[in-house]
């Protein structure tokens, strides 16, 4: 009996110590050696869900005195975003440096809106971006996967709109986001040797110097990782799948991840997830089923249907409804193929949320989590720029744990 007890005790001790791997200077050093990310400290970290992200985003914009930069998949002018659009115009006219990087393809869906912003003095460039973040000179950063559109800022998670999340951070993460923004801006610029860009680079050098001097960046923070980690983060924009793989390797008991699409292919993190699921790690994926439809396209078609019902063109609603059903069925079949691929030779549980899940969140069993723009999708790897943050913070980790459990309970399991 005593022998069994001792064995069990040792086993539990090993599990606990494995779980604590993430909270060591050694692991932080390993992450430095394998990924192009750097550990930083932030002063504030807040999680916002759905439409709750809009007021703090507007506040960030109001706070901006020198610059406000946005890197987004899509930017739309509508009755809900009008407040933000007007504020951007005001800021740009007041000579705040307002810049927008927007996805090349998606920009065609809102050309009049972008024209309006440009007229007010907002500088716009188009790129192959799928990121979602906002930064200002106050070292504030809002990051996640929301675009600027009513589907995000009216959503409550249950009303058929984008179920999404954003993280607000204040501190050195903004330096990394600034660098990422600048990198894309320069690569798209027709004049990469302009004085404006030289000033931007000078500013980046100053921000980095300040971070190191304040000891809120780099190996000066390693020891903090072991002492009840709080608000320690890494900005992840390059080789995201590789980064997920390194964290998944040390994860032991439970892992949640989510997204709009999942196409696991033969990427290393996919193999790691499968192997670990077979060895007893609980792996849950929260994604979309028929009820989620085709995201914003479904939402827009539903809006058209509702508008047409009380109009002279109400006869078109039938056509649109049939299109909607066809599109949902098509996507459901495609998703099911990907889910079966994910579950093949693995013990991964897949959940379809009752609305459209848009957030890309990874939750680990140490107090670590990732929130960003990238899906686990082999077909998109390296083709568009993405951005996210990995943080060690017990408070947000606990919040995310209950949020994801709740979403899972509002989902149906894929067999």
């Amino acid at each position: 009996m005593i022998k069994i007890f001792l064995l069990l005790f040792t086993f539990l001790l090993v599990c606990e110590s494995a779980n604590a791997t993430a909270l060591t200077a050694k692991f932080q050093r390993e992450l430095d050696s394998k990924t192009p990310t750097e550990l930083v400290k932030v002063e504030a970290l807040e999680l916002y869900q759905n439409k709750d992200s809009y007021p703090p985003l507007l506040k960030m914009l109001e706070n901006s005195k020198q610059f406000f930069y946005m890197n987004l998949l899509s930017f739309t002018c509508d009755q809900v975003t009008e407040k933000m659009v007007s504020l951007l115009e005001t800021k740009a006219k007041a000579l705040v440096d307002v810049r927008l990087i927007v996805n090349q393809g998606f920009s065609y869906l809102s050309m009049p809106c972008l024209k309006r912003l440009k007229k007010a003095g907002v500088k716009i460039t188009k790129a192959k971006t799928h990121a979602s973040y906002f930064i200002n000179e106050q070292q504030e950063l809002m990051i996640g996967s929301q675009s600027v559109a009513r589907m995000f800022f009216l959503a409550d998670g249950f009303n058929g709109l984008d179920r999404d999340m954003m993280i607000y951070a204040k501190g050195a993460l903004a330096t990394d986001a600034f660098k990422d923004f600048l990198s894309i801006w320069i690569n798209q610029s027709k004049r990469p040797e302009s004085q404006e860009l030289k000033n931007d680079i000078q500013h980046l050098q100053t921000m980095l110097k300040n971070d190191y001097q304040k000891k809120i960046r780099g190996h000066a923070l390693y020891a903090r990782a072991t002492m009840g980690p709080e608000r320690l983060c890494r900005f992840v924009s390059l080789e995201t799948e590789n980064f997920w793989n390194e964290i998944t390797k040390i994860n032991q008991k439970q892992l949640y991840f989510s997204g709009v699409n999942v196409e696991i292919g033969d990427i290393p993190v996919g193999r790691t997830l499968k192997e670990k699921s077979l060895k007893g790690m609980e792996v849950h994926y929260i994604g979309n089923g028929r009820l989620g439809g085709n995201g914003e396209l479904t939402m827009v078609v539903v809006e058209w249907i509702n508008d047409l019902k009380s109009s002279a063109f109400s006869f078109l609603t039938g056509l649109l409804e049939r299109f909607n059903e066809w599109d949902k069925s098509r996507l459901e079949r495609k998703n099911q193929e990907h889910y079966q691929e994910l579950k093949k030779d693995a013990n991964i549980r897949v959940w379809n949320y009752l609305n459209f899940v848009h957030y890309k969140v990874w939750l680990f069993d140490h107090p670590g989590f990732f929130i960003g723009s990238a899906n686990l999708d082999e077909s998109k790897m390296g083709k568009v720029s993405e951005a996210g943050i990995y943080c060690l913070d017990a408070k947000i980790h606990n919040q995310l744990q209950s949020v994801l459990l709740k979403d899972r309970s509002n989902s149906s399991e894929v067999k």
Binding site: R29, D32, T37, N187, I201, Y212, L238, N242
Partner: protein, 237 residues
């Protein structure tokens, strides 16, 4: 006072960045092979991981080097195999190397050895190894030193010799110098833009020096059996 002054001067010299070799290269080519040494100094804050990323990212390398189609890795550091697919003289080749790395917050090093028994490495090279050591000297200075040793075979196409081993070494090392110094400009610009790095490189004295090396070495090695060259960036470039 007389004793203190030399000590004081020595202290200043020890903390001065000019103690480290300035950016440039040394190359020697003879019948035994080639020996290429490159030194790079980077000002401003450079983390070891950002240096490592620039030198190992397949995406960065292929954006800066038109002859490199792709770079892929068998595993993550510290021990792995690297597969580089290159296109030179219209010929596509797969070059497999065995690499190992050592990483700390102040130093990163990588050693790679070309596997001449596998894929296409042995067609062009008798042997090749390279080592890079990057060090954070202080908060405002990082240095990287490269040592590339090898011996080329004569370049043949359809059984006919196009270039002898020494001349082929010149062409190969011109390519290597171009690639390395494009990376230098990329890293010196905080890894921001390969587009900018290419523009800086095209207008640089380093490129002019590499072009000169190409012309001079090709001419000399037609008659002579050995060639040496050194180049250092002027202090205020």
């Amino acid at each position: 006072m007389k004793l203190i002054s030399p000590i004081f001067i020595l202290l200043i010299l020890l903390t001065s960045s000019s103690l480290w070799a300035t950016t440039g290269y040394d190359i020697s080519i003879n019948d035994q092979g080639y020996d290429l040494k490159i030194e790079m100094n980077f000002s401003g804050h450079q983390s070891m991981q950002s240096l490592r990323y620039a030198f190992t990212s397949g995406q960065v390398i292929s954006e800066l080097s038109p002859n490199v189609e792709s770079v892929s890795y068998s595993a993550s550091a510290p021990e792995y195999q690297a597969l580089m697919v290159v296109k030179s003289f219209g010929i596509k080749s797969e070059l497999l190397s065995k690499c190992s790395e050592v990483f700390s917050e102040k130093e990163w090093s990588r050693t790679c050895k070309l596997q001449t028994d596998f894929l296409d490495g042995g067609k062009f090279m008798v042997s090749k190894s390279d080592q890079v050591i990057c060090k954070k000297q202080n908060e405002q200075l990082a240095t990287c030193s490269f040592s590339i040793l090898g011996k080329t075979r004569p370049l043949k196409l359809l059984g006919f010799q196009i270039l002898n081993a020494r001349s082929f070494a010149v062409k190969a090392k011109v390519q290597a110098l171009n690639n390395f110094f494009k990376l230098y400009f990329f890293i010196n610009d905080h890894n921001l833009s390969t587009k900018r790095a290419l523009q800086f490189f095209e207008h640089s004295v380093i490129k002019r020096s590499i072009d000169e090396f190409d012309r001079e070495a090709t001419k000399i090695l037609k008659k002579e059996k050995a060639y040496n060259r050194s180049f250092r960036l002027p202090e205020n470039r």
